[in-house]
Amino acid sequence: MTRFEDELKNALRRQAPPDGFADRVLARAAEQDSRQVKPSWRHSWLRIFAQPFAPANPFRWAAVAAVAVGMIVGGVHYRNVHVQRERAQGEAAKAQLLLALRIAGGKLQLAKARVDQINSGQVNSDQRHPDPNSGPTANQQERE
């Protein structure tokens, strides 16, 4: 190496960064770490669902099958619960309708009886007090 190259090497020797450089880098790294969701997808057990058709992991098919079975069972269970709830709601509505009909029938009976009672009372009154506008009485006919 020539003298000139030695001078060049001396001029270009490494220079330390400003104070606190490493701390600033580490603070940024810690902030970056804290922003990441943990456990990360690539390092958690959930990664067996990644690329389910890749042949490398023998547990992937089992995991996918287990999830599919779980979804089917859950769906059937949800459907059963839904049907039972609808049936119970129907029964309750039927009972309420019968009660309403029963109440309405009783009221109708009561009204019919009242009407009958009013009609029968009017007939008796007509027999005792005939209608003055219905024609000349027997006394008037005699005077004429």
């Binding site: 000139f4 001078e7 001029a11 270009l12 580490l26 970056q32």
Partner: protein, 184 residues
């Protein structure tokens, strides 16, 4: 000039181990960026970005030597990218102002502060690729083959660029500061 590093350095990716890597290599990364950009705040920003990229990629690096190589390569490419983005004008060596006013002895002493400062100015004015080669050669003490690996170009190209850059620097120094007499 690469410092020995523990073999398990890159194996664990805890923040503590990352901190050790940062402290070990911060001078290398920062100095490369500083010599290339000649702008301390920009050099620190670039060096921080390089280490943040390393932090994200550390799992993929298999050995301490790989970490050092990766740092040099990413720093070099980021320097060139930054220069392209900023569209900084490429100054020819001939356009640089002479060091008028500096009363310099032609009998250069080792670690001559005036010569050192002038050399830094001249290196910073070299074309990007040549500048990077000179920095990697004389700051990092790398061979032409190592530089070729970092910059993805043939070693012969690196050698010719280095020779040309060295000749340009020497001519400029001689013309402005006097002959480097012990250049042999």
């Amino acid at each position: 000039m690469a410092e020995p590093v523990p073999a398990e350095e890159a194996a664990d990716v805890t923040l503590g181990d990352f901190a050790e890597i940062v402290r070990r290599h911060q001078s290398m990364v920062f100095s490369t960026a500083l010599r290339f950009l000649a702008d301390p705040p920009a050099a620190e920003e670039l060096a921080q970005d390089v280490f943040m990229q390393l932090h994200a990629k550390l799992n993929t690096l298999k050995s301490p030597e790989h970490v050092v190589f990766w740092l040099r390569k990413v720093t070099s490419h980021r320097c060139i990218d930054r220069l392209r983005r900023s569209r900084m004008p490429q100054v020819s060596l001939d356009d640089l102002p002479d060091s008028a006013g500096l009363e310099l002895s032609t009998d250069l002493q080792p670690a001559d502060p005036f010569l050192s400062r002038r050399l830094k100015q001249l290196v910073a004015s070299l074309p990007a690729k040549a500048r990077l080669m000179v920095i990697l050669r004389y700051q990092e003490d790398l061979s032409a083959e190592d530089i070729a690996g970092i910059l993805d170009m043939p070693a012969a190209t690196v050698k010719s660029h280095l020779q040309r850059a060295l000749a340009m620097l020497r001519d400029k120094v001689v013309s402005t500061m006097g002959e480097v007499r012990s250049d042999k």
